[in-house]
């Protein structure tokens, strides 16, 4: 035998070599652990949010009674001697803006969704959808500036009693901000209704309008409602538009022409001012943040529940 034949073939060498590599086995074991640690960061973030909010809110409630906070009708944290911490005016401010936003976003968003999904040609849809994406990508600070310097003056020309800071202008602009979300999610829900159902109705002599409103809309309802609930959640958590155009006067009434304050705008007011660390005002932003967090969490869970529970399967 020649010496060459005694040596194993290159392939066998490679196999042997790779078997001997202990490092490789170790890597195969370590990598999943590393990746799991990365994945746990997002869980840690949630715990971080919940614990910081609870921890600081508990500190706040050692200074302010919880019933005063939940049922108090006056929010006057800056009135030196007797500050009042009743959350209701802030919730009402948030509620007003959200309601106006939804009144704007739902009809226009749904109208756009029906048009894009049922009437528009493929080409029109492919041009308009990216434009809606652009609208969704505009930073909220830009919307806030737009509300303050453009929408408010126009509204003031129509409603003379409107103050510079009010609930209507930020409400409308928040509505424009969440509109693309409703339009695009509802459009997705309606587009996923199978063609055969549409054609069945058309074959029976229904017009396109009747197909859209009486066949497609009910079939896609769970997706549409989920999109609206998510839009409500976004509107509740919206910060910059209401800080710039909503004002900083918490009020317990249903007027929309006067200056208001939302939960988010209060947090901004405190953090842009100089309320020192450790003061009751400092802790109050966590209590307000926690309230806000609960509102949006409930909305998000509701949206998930609706889209899962009431989904029509075809």
């Amino acid at each position: 035998m020649t010496s060459k034949q005694q040596e194993s073939s290159p392939v066998q060498q490679m196999i042997a070599k790779s078997r001997n590599r202990k490092g490789k086995k170790v890597i195969e074991k370590i990598i999943p652990i590393g990746l799991f640690l990365a994945a746990s960061i997002s869980v840690l973030t949630t715990f971080g949010i919940v614990f910081t909010l609870i921890f600081e809110t508990v500190e706040f409630f050692t200074r302010v009674s919880i019933t005063d906070y939940l049922f108090g009708k006056e929010w006057l944290p800056f009135s030196g001697k007797e500050p009042l911490y009743g959350i209701l005016p802030l919730i009402l401010g948030t509620f007003k803006v959200t309601l106006i936003a939804i009144l704007v976003a739902v009809p226009f968003g749904l109208g756009a969704a029906i048009y894009l999904s049922e009437y528009a040609s493929e080409r029109v849809r492919k041009t308009i959808k990216p434009v809606l994406e652009v609208l969704a990508g505009v930073p909220t600070i830009v919307y806030g500036f737009f509300a303050l310097t453009f929408v408010t003056p126009i509204l003031q020309a129509i409603i003379p009693s409107l103050k510079i800071f009010n609930a209507v202008s930020p409400g409308i602009v928040v509505g424009i901000m969440v509109l693309p979300m409703i339009a695009s999610m509802s459009e997705d829900a309606m587009s996923s209704v199978p063609k055969s159902i549409r054609e069945g109705a058309l074959g029976l002599g229904a017009t396109k309008l009747e197909v859209s409103l009486k066949v497609v809309l009910p079939a896609a309802l769970s997706g549409i409602i989920a999109s609206i609930v998510l839009a409500v959640s976004r509107a509740i958590g919206e910060t910059m538009i209401v800080s710039l155009a909503g004002g900083s006067t918490p009020r317990f009434d249903f007027g929309v022409t006067d200056s208001i304050q939302t939960m988010t705008a209060y947090i901004v007011q405190v953090t842009t001012g100089d309320a020192g660390y450790g003061t009751t005002i400092y802790y109050s932003i966590y209590a307000v943040g926690f309230t806000l967090f609960i509102f949006t969490l409930v909305m998000n869970l509701l949206a998930t529940y609706i889209s899962k529970r009431f989904r029509e399967e075809y």
Partner: protein
Amino acid sequence: MRYLQQEHVMKRMNKRLVWNRVWKGVFIAATSFALLALAILLYRILSQGMGYLNFDFLTNFASRIPENAGIKAALVGSLCLMAVVAPVSIILGVSTAIYLEEYAKKNKLNDFIRMNISNLAGVPSIVFGLLGLTIFVRMLGMGKSILAAGLTMSLLILPVIIVAAQEAIRAVPKDQREASYGMGATKWQTIIRVVIPAAIPGILTGSILALSRAIGETAPLVVIGIPVILQFLPTGMLDTFTALPMQIFDWAKRPQEEFQYVASAGIIVLMAVLIFMNSIAVFIRNKFQKRY
């Protein structure tokens, strides 16, 4: 016997067809409302801000006099912020996506992680600001620094990047993985040499879009307490800084009318950065994304 009255049917038919037309118009009007809003917004900002936008605006620091106000510190600050956010959020996001798509077995823990990510995406950005203020600024003593703000922003956009990366990884067909296994590759070799290269265009597109959201995000920076009028540039990760949206927020709040125009000019710079990033994302999507 007449079951159908021709006339009656025709009359109703016409009415139904007219309604169809009318409502089509209504739906088109609703769609145009959104497009119109965008057009007016862009027009307003361009017409107000263009006059103030010049080279000095880009190279001056902030000032109390509108004519001298510039955006240098904010622009540099935003770029420094991205230098933290981009690596942190992309590494964490892609690792999480690989774990969930390739390694995670179907059990309660992993279901919890998935549910947690989708809920995290719905938490308002201002709440992330409170998290950053408590954990990074105070507890870990980073102060109002680029690092503290960058880590906060990374956590904020993490869910978006995870979801985008998951979709990109899921789109890589199974036969490619199996071909790789068939050649004797290990799981990790398959992931790093086959799956990830094929998924990179999708991951990059999603990440850039998420980063552009982080650049325009204001609320967490406000809560952390980033200052606005800075006369110097940051020199390290633990230095304080200011960012584009913060600077715009400050100008927009000022009562003098001139500052409105300065704010518009600032918005043009911010939007230019966003459009630049988005075009890169679209370019990558169109150029490199393969359909299997």
